[in-house]
Amino acid sequence: MDWKGQKLSEELMQILLLVFGGVAFITGYATSSFRTMMLIYAGAVLFTTMITVPNWPFFNRHPLKWLDPIQAEKYPKPELTNVISKKKKNKHY
């Protein structure tokens, strides 16, 4: 997933669970059935899992732009110099 997709996934998960939670409570209260409330909520958790957890294509609509290979060669990674040997010399009093 790209960054925007991750944000979408998290927000979608929170909104879906809260809204379905409210629906479950209101339906259960109206029908005086605790069981109905629990079943609706369990269905909501499964549904939300199906939508937000797997890596669906619609989460990848803003892919990251990596540098082209030619541009990467212009700015090479700096190499390590021998700083370690200087430190060892200072220890001989």
């Binding site: 944000k7 998960m13 939670g21 209260y29 059935s33 409330m37 958790v45 937000t52 957890v53 797997p54």
Partner: protein, 167 residues
Amino acid sequence: MHTFGYRANALLTFAVTALAFICAIASFSDKFSNQNPSAEIQILNINRFQKKSHGNDEVSLTLDIAADLQSLFTWNTKQVFVFIAAEYETPKNALNQVSLWDAIIPTKEHAKFRIQTSNKYRFIDQGHNLRGKDFNLTLHWHVMPKTGKMFADKIVMSGYSLPDAYR
């Protein structure tokens, strides 16, 4: 939210927190129910009234219990526990409470009942003070919810008394 496991964990945690919140408001919704239970107890017979070998009085009664506790049941009620206690005063104790009978009411349909029974538990005093004693019979109930706080209340019925002499 960059891996499957990370998203699954976040979802499960949030789902359980939301579930806790739903159960809390379900329990809170119990406050809005109208409760008007009623009960009546009659003593049909005093079967035995003796001073036992341990020096304490013991009574055996037959009770007629009629109660309508249907309004105590809400959508969030698992069961109602009901018991009857005899309450009286003695020189030794300011208040004595002796449990005589109890029952578990599992559903609303079972909550309106009338039964005749002898006392399920023994009515034994601490001492021998029961001759001619006036006592109250109190019907206590505990409403046990499916989630949330348990509520308890009672109806006090007074005017019962034991005979002046042993039988």
